[in-house]
């Protein structure tokens, strides 16, 4: 089973990298863009023995306690069997 964790800056926090990419894309002539946010992506391969609820709890804890700094970042995750 694999877990995919996405970490990004909170909406309330300025994301200069996203802003720069947004500016560059616009300048290159890409159309219809409203905003770009940059984040991080983690692919976590889990032990087969873990049940789905166990895995859910474990990944939630990893995302909250390690992968994210709650002052500036937020996370979401999904699973793939």
């Amino acid at each position: 089973m694999k877990a995919y964790v996405y970490v990004s800056l909170k909406k309330s926090v300025l994301d200069p990298q996203g802003k720069t990419i947004y500016g560059a894309l616009n300048k290159m002539g890409f159309k219809g863009l409203e905003a770009v946010r940059q984040g991080k992506f983690f692919e976590i391969t889990l032990d087969r023995d873990l049940t789905k609820p166990e895995a859910q709890a474990e990944v939630e804890r990893i995302a909250r306690e390690v992968l994210t700094n709650p002052v500036i970042e937020e996370y979401r995750f999904s699973f793939e069997d």
Binding site: Q17, N69, V71, I72
Partner: protein
């Protein structure tokens, strides 16, 4: 006075802080290994600059889980003196010994240059040798020095006079041009509520000897030594 300088894998200003304490401030110093919980009866702890754990994941994010930081937390809670410089400041924020976080510089690039900081509070163990409003020239060298916290934290920091250094012009004006990294309110350094923990982005150990062109950073070490003598 005995100073402990922590070594994380990837610390690279550990030897610099050690040298300044031992050879310039003439105090005893020892290195503390990240895997040890023993602070060896040190009177003050320095969390040095560098790239602990390569700054991978986030600056300071992995270092906060090391055994030595557990001891540092207890030490700080008991009123012990802790100085975090650059990466050390980032680690202290990640460890929640100081509020807020240090984000990527607004210019997105690493910046190494001398800057000016204004002393906002001279009533701390780290600044007692300075005057309130005094401007110090101290170099910075970082990619993530852009201090951020939410509005209520900022209000609290102000109220409790915990903003210790702010980026300023040589004349002491706080301007956007003087801010090298987009830091909130030009913040360069803050202290804990008890004043015993200080985090700062500029490197005082790089401005502590005439040979290196500047000695104004040495006031931080002088303050520390002075405050411990009267403790």
């Amino acid at each position: 006075m005995k100073f402990g300088v922590i070594i994380f894998p990837g610390s690279n200003c550990d030897h610099d802080a050690y040298w300044t304490i031992q050879q310039v401030a003439r105090q005893s110093a020892t290195f503390l290994w990240h895997e040890s919980q023993d602070l060896e009866n040190c009177d003050a702890i320095i969390v040095p600059g560098g790239f602990a754990y390569g700054d991978y994941l986030r600056t300071g994010a992995i270092a906060k889980f090391s055994p030595v930081m557990e001891s540092v937390k207890k030490f700080a809670e008991g009123g012990g003196l802790v100085l975090g410089i650059c990466n050390g400041f980032q680690i202290l924020c990640e460890s929640a010994l100081l509020p807020g976080a240090l984000m990527r510089n607004v210019g997105l690039k690493y910046v190494c240059k001398p800057v000016h900081v204004r002393v906002e509070n001279d009533d701390t163990p780290f600044t007692q040798a300075c005057r309130q409003g005094e401007v110090l020239s101290i170099p910075i060298g970082h990619m993530e020095g852009n201090y951020f916290c939410d509005d209520s934290t900022l209000a609290q920091l102000r109220r409790e006079q915990r903003i210790v250094f702010r980026y300023a012009t040589p004349a002491g004006e706080i301007t956007p041009e003087a801010n090298p990294n987009g830091s909130l309110d030009n913040i360069a350094g803050i202290s804990s509520a008890g004043r015993n923990v200080l985090g700062m982005m500029p490197h005082p150990e790089r401005a502590s000897e005439a040979e290196l062109g500047c000695v104004e950073g040495f006031k931080i070490f002088q303050s520390l030594v002075g405050s411990m003598a009267t403790r």
